[in-house]
């Protein structure tokens, strides 16, 4: 009798938001080996950035790498090119940029939590979180004018200033969301069925977090203090109240809690920024064409995002290299899957918050 069975998850599967294929070799629903394919959405964005678009347009092109962390991609690119062009931005611009980054983190984390709940068969929670997420989407829409592709950041500054009504809306919604997140923390920690589904499931150990180069909430849930916000001085995170959130066990339960607590920290940062916002220009004028190379790291909602830019003094860049969080974490994910039950696989996968558009680009 054949002992192992192969269960495909993807490239089209109900529990996936984006195309990726995992082939699980299972013994009686226990996963023994995993094979993966991630390149279903390769769109050649890196090539387009160097051949089709000028450096001033590239910021808007890289936003299309991923819908969820669009703002982070543009920001990382912009910071890189500003480094090459030697543009110094003022405090107001920096604050507005962090504000949008953190709002983006809130809505991305909420989406991940909702998706994890949905994949563990908890449709009611999915609907609730998606409903709550509208609060932060409304703030983003009010500030940037768009719901998904914000196109808020541009070289030298930001495209729109924040109005008093926006500020008021943001304060109201953030306060409301803060309460809802407290409520969610209660729901995630006290539900019998989610405890069965999340506790000690899909755990990544502290050592493996380092060995497999884990990033973002995946690493922090395992207790590894890995966060670009703490390792980079490019944006003034420490001034606005950033705090590292760490978990202990590295299982789905801890990942959820780390995300929820990070949302609370992000809300606090946004509130601090809004109350400390000064008057000032939102766009710094600059001249010249970029020449040189830059390395930029930024903490996207899912983990570290890295941009390498090489410019040769023309309007077209010579090389744009995008490295996204999910990209380097696939081997770590595969390791976590081994030994788990297939029944847990969708929830584990959702708790990684994988982004295939980012990975394949």
């Amino acid at each position: 009798m054949k002992k192992t069975i192969t269960i495909p998850l993807g490239s089209q599967h109900i529990s996936l938001l984006e195309p990726v294929r995992f082939n699980f070799s299972c013994e009686n629903e226990k996963i023994t080996d995993v094979d993966y394919n991630v390149g279903f959405v390769h769109r050649g964005i890196e090539k387009a950035c160097t051949e089709k678009f000028e450096y001033k347009q590239v910021g808007y092109v890289v936003a299309r790498v991923c819908g969820l962390c669009a703002i982070t991609h543009t920001m990382a690119y912009t910071l890189g090119i500003e480094h090459i062009l030697n543009i110094k931005t003022n405090k107001k611009i920096d604050y507005l940029r962090i504000l949008m980054l953190e709002l983006d983190r809130i809505h991305s984390h909420l989406l991940c939590l909702a998706h994890t709940a949905e994949n563990s068969g908890f449709e009611g929670m999915f609907m609730k979180i998606m409903g709550d997420r509208e609060l932060v989407m409304d703030i983003q829409e009010a500030i940037s004018g768009n719901r998904v592709q914000f196109d808020f950041v541009c070289i030298g500054g930001v495209n729109r200033d924040i109005s008093t009504e926006c500020e008021k809306l943001a304060f109201t919604n953030l306060a409301l969301l803060d309460k809802k997140v407290d409520d969610l923390i209660g729901k995630f920690t006290s539900n019998w069925s989610t405890a069965l589904k999340y506790k000690n499931i899909g755990a990544l150990s502290y050592d493996d977090a380092f060995n497999f180069n884990a990033l973002g909430p995946l690493a922090r849930a395992a207790g590894a203090a890995i966060d670009v916000r703490a390792e980079s001085s490019i944006l003034p995170y420490k001034e606005v109240g950033y705090k590292m959130i760490l978990g202990q066990n590295g299982d789905i339960y801890d990942r959820n809690l780390v995300r929820l607590k990070e949302i609370k920290n992000s809300i606090l940062m946004c509130q601090n920024i809004l109350s400390g916002l000064t008057e000032g220009e939102i766009l710094v004028k600059f001249k010249g064409k970029p020449n040189g190379e830059s390395f930029t790291r930024l903490e996207a909602p899912r983990g570290e995002i890295f941009y390498y830019l090489n410019a040769n003094g023309t309007n077209m860049l010579q090389r744009v290299r995008i490295k996204t969080p999910t990209f380097s974490q696939i081997p770590g994910m595969v390791e976590i899957f081994k030994g788990s039950d297939y029944a847990d696989a969708p929830a584990i996968l959702a708790s990684f918050d994988p982004c295939m558009s980012c990975t394949a680009k």
Binding site: I7, S120, G121, F122, G124, N191, S193, T194
Partner: protein, 279 residues
């Protein structure tokens, strides 16, 4: 009940079952702060499914499923004609076995995993049904539904039977937390995954019949007090929808443990309770 009325109830079961299912969906949507589909959505789905290409994977797959649907319908007829409770339980078991065989007959991993899990969930809930049938016999002295429905109300003795049955309802209807055999996000609906068009409509309509099957168990607990029986059904309908909305899906081994520990445990408690009540 006249024979004609019983026949009508049985014959139109897939129709009003569909309306119950529509109400169920609206109720769940309201609990999730959504508007939800129209109550008649199951019938719009039916029209849509009828218009699709009649495609089958292989003949046995479809034939076993048709057996499943027909035998389930026959079980519903038996209920309305006031048949024997044990025959009804075993008739339902037979129908489910047809469905499981149907799932095994295709070379689809999701369908086969669905059959595996369905088989395990049957192993989990079937003893509870039997124990509860015994409880009902202990109270009323008969397995015939027509006689039970004519007997005076003795719900006090059957409280634990009712609680025990509340564990069976979501398992049979494949609702959270006991929906591992369907597991939408894991095995894409399990056995249901390989059906399409009009044949899927039969699987879909079978869900309505399953609803009638489990809720009639709850209804007969109130014996001749039909209003109280309706109340029990509405209460459990609401409770099951609430639990479905507020829990995640548990794994099949946790399902087995939970059902044996609480469902079966309550069934055993119920027997002692009934014996105590008799004294």
């Amino acid at each position: 009940m006249s024979i004609v009325f019983s026949f009508m109830l049985g014959f139109f079961a897939p129709i009003y079952g569909g309306i119950f299912y529509g109400i169920d969906r609206v109720l769940k949507a309201k609990m999730q702060r959504r508007k939800g589909p129209p109550v008649l959505q199951p019938f719009y789905d039916m029209l849509k499914l009828f218009s699709k290409t009649k495609f089958i994977v292989n003949a046995p797959h479809t034939i076993w499923m048709i057996f499943y649907f027909l035998s389930l319908w026959a079980v519903v007829f038996m209920i309305f004609f006031g048949g024997n409770l044990l025959y009804i339980i075993f008739g339902h078991l037979l129908a489910t076995v047809f469905f499981i065989i149907s799932g095994y007959s295709v070379n689809s991993i999701f369908s086969q995993l669905g059959s595996n899990r369905k088989l395990l969930s049957v192993v989990a809930y079937e003893p509870i049904l039997i124990v509860n049938a015994i409880c009902i016999y202990l109270v009323f002295g008969t397995f015939e539904i027509s006689e039970i429905l004519a007997a005076p109300n003795n719900f006090n003795s059957l409280v634990f039977t009712f609680l025990s049955l509340l564990f069976v309802v979501p398992t049979v209807l494949k609702l959270s937390p006991f929906d591992a055999s369907k597991a939408h996000q894991e095995i894409v609906g399990g056995i249901e995954v390989e059906f399409g068009g009009v044949f899927y409509e039969l699987v879909y309509a079978a869900k309505f019949l399953e609803m009638i099957f489990v809720y009639s168990f709850i209804f007969i607990l109130a014996s001749n007090d039909y209003i109280f029986g309706t109340f029990l059904v509405v209460f459990s309908f609401f409770a099951v929808a609430l639990v479905d909305n507020s829990t995640a899906r548990i794994k099949i081994d946790s399902l087995l443990k939970a059902l044996y520990m609480y469902g079966f445990g309550l069934g055993i408690v119920s027997i002692f309770w009934i014996l105590l009540c008799c004294i």
